[in-house]
Symmetry: C2
Subunit: 313 residues, 2 copies
């Protein structure tokens, strides 16, 4: 496998906490540059730029970029990087709107470069194992419970509850990305109830009913809530028509199956992302999946709105 | 061209007013059946069924169906019809959610049958002429004004202002479908302001800012409103970077271009839909476009919500 020179665009929390260490531990990548409006300290060996345009111009032999900015500008940045001959990796969701995801895929094809839209929760070993166990089966019941404390995970991040910030779907898309990975049949949003704080433009909680359309009696539900203090819950319970019971917990890290000891994968979502990106680059193969993001947009489109108490951090 | 035996599923207002006459005037189709929960009177020569399952079983040599029900059940119906070996035509929007549109395309491919997702406004001769004039150009400014009286066009239809009824995007998707047909570059939703009546779950008006991402100074806007009494306005004004000015009015039926006499196409949106469906069937070619519907979902996802006066019909 080749070794690729990569830059990170948008060197915020997720880039610092996950992307940089995953790249540092990868035999396939070398972090040579970051850009972050000029105020971030680059890891050792990487050069810091105020803007990505300078990075594209000044870094010799840059093979790829990881785009970790907020979602809004990602399509424009991806388009510029692809036009400059760079391969692109995108944090989730890949862009500000679903329409733009298609455009990124087309731009990569036109440039003859690789685009990889990532959804980190899909990279848990337990999630892949659950997908294998469910292959070819029919799901009778599904209960997604994704409840966490917004103050703990997003302290003071007002933008995430503004219009276009996705609200509770910022973590919720992780659960949806697990569903699109493990469910043996496509799932659709049937109904959505969205709970908007009186003083915010994005929902702080959502209850979804899902369907595959294949089973009359199927019960597929998802409950997302950002107002849970105390223990945090990221669980998916599934029962198939033929009686197999599965439970994914800890955000997809742990799998329990009836009659088997629990399986706990290594904490390597991001290392696995970079393993896959390396393989995609070696094969000149793009992977731009929109399905988890599409379910988010569908939920907003169908959603009934309920106003709840104003929220302050 | 072959002559195809077709049935209409969901024989409501649009089927009666547009599909049946268009089929009657087509040399390529023969209307042999309708289904509408049992209470509709079939046109002469067509047999009425309570449900589409009976139609599929009992009508010999049925080639195709036109699905004109409300959007919610369209994917399930399309799936059943494709599995029964029928080609399917879909009113707009093609399904209740965008995810389902992809599924319909896959189901058609798996069945070896044709699926055609229609957007009637695209079938105006003036719209096609506008697309030709704009090809290869860059748009500097766009103003979509789509303002009509909900009481005149949808009297008493409470479902259209319920969750999943799409609200103002029910007519708005016509404007968006013209944009995806005529704009020389893809357009994305940049911001959306959605106006919800205090007693309803779907917006009665929407203001959109659009972008192509290509031109710094571009001004692309759309204003949709269902509260316009008096004259009704369905207009699109465009100016290109090189100074060409276009105006589509009357919902896409009329085109004015600087320095040319106005062009008014024949009132044949639906006859043109059936001409194209006949050609697609002759070629065993599906056409399942999701782009206009995708823009609707994106607008809901990004939309800021403003509560406006309660609305009663």
């Amino acid at each position: 496998m080749a070794k690729y020179r990569i830059g990170i665009i948008g060197y915020g929390k997720i880039a610092h906490d996950q992307h940089a260490p995953a790249i540092a531990s990868s035999p396939n990548f070398e972090l040579v540059a970051i850009s972050n409006g000029g105020d971030a300290v680059a890891p050792a060996g990487a050069k810091a730029f105020a803007g990505y345009a300078d990075m594209l111009k000044q870094v010799a032999d840059l093979d790829a970029v990881a785009i970790c900015t907020p979602p809004g500008p990602r399509r424009t940045i991806a388009s510029d990087c692809l036009a400059a001959g760079k391969n692109v990796l995108l944090e989730k969701p890949p862009a500000g709107t679903v329409t733009e995801v298609t455009d990124i895929a087309l731009a990569a094809k036109a440039a003859g470069k690789v685009a990889f839209a990532t959804y980190h929760a899909q990279h848990n070993a337990a999630v892949k194992r659950a997908a294998d166990k469910l292959a070819g089966k029919q799901v009778q019941s599904l209960q997604v419970t994704w409840k966490e404390d917004i103050r703990r995970w997003h302290p003071g991040q007002d933008w995430i509850l503004a219009a276009g910030g996705f609200g509770i779907f910022d973590p919720g898309i992780n659960a949806l990305s697990i569903l699109t990975r493990i469910m043996p049949e496509p799932v659709f949003i049937e109904t959505a109830n969205l709970y908007f704080p009186a003083n915010r433009q994005a929902p702080i909680a959502a209850d979804l009913t899902l369907g595959t359309g294949f089973h009359e009696g199927e019960q597929l539900k998802a409950n997302f809530d950002w107002r849970q203090t105390g223990p945090q819950t990221w669980e998916i319970d599934i029962e198939t028509v033929d009686g197999l019971k599965l439970k994914l917990s800890d955000g997809g890290a742990r799998l329990e199956t009836d009659g088997e000891p629990p399986f706990v994968g290594p904490p390597d979502e991001y290392p696995d992302i970079y393993r896959e990106f390396g393989a995609l680059l070696d094969q000149s193969q793009s992977k731009v999946e929109a399905a988890p993001f599409q379910l988010v947009a569908d939920a907003f489109m169908l959603g009934a709105r309920t106003q709840v108490d104003a929220f302050e951090f």
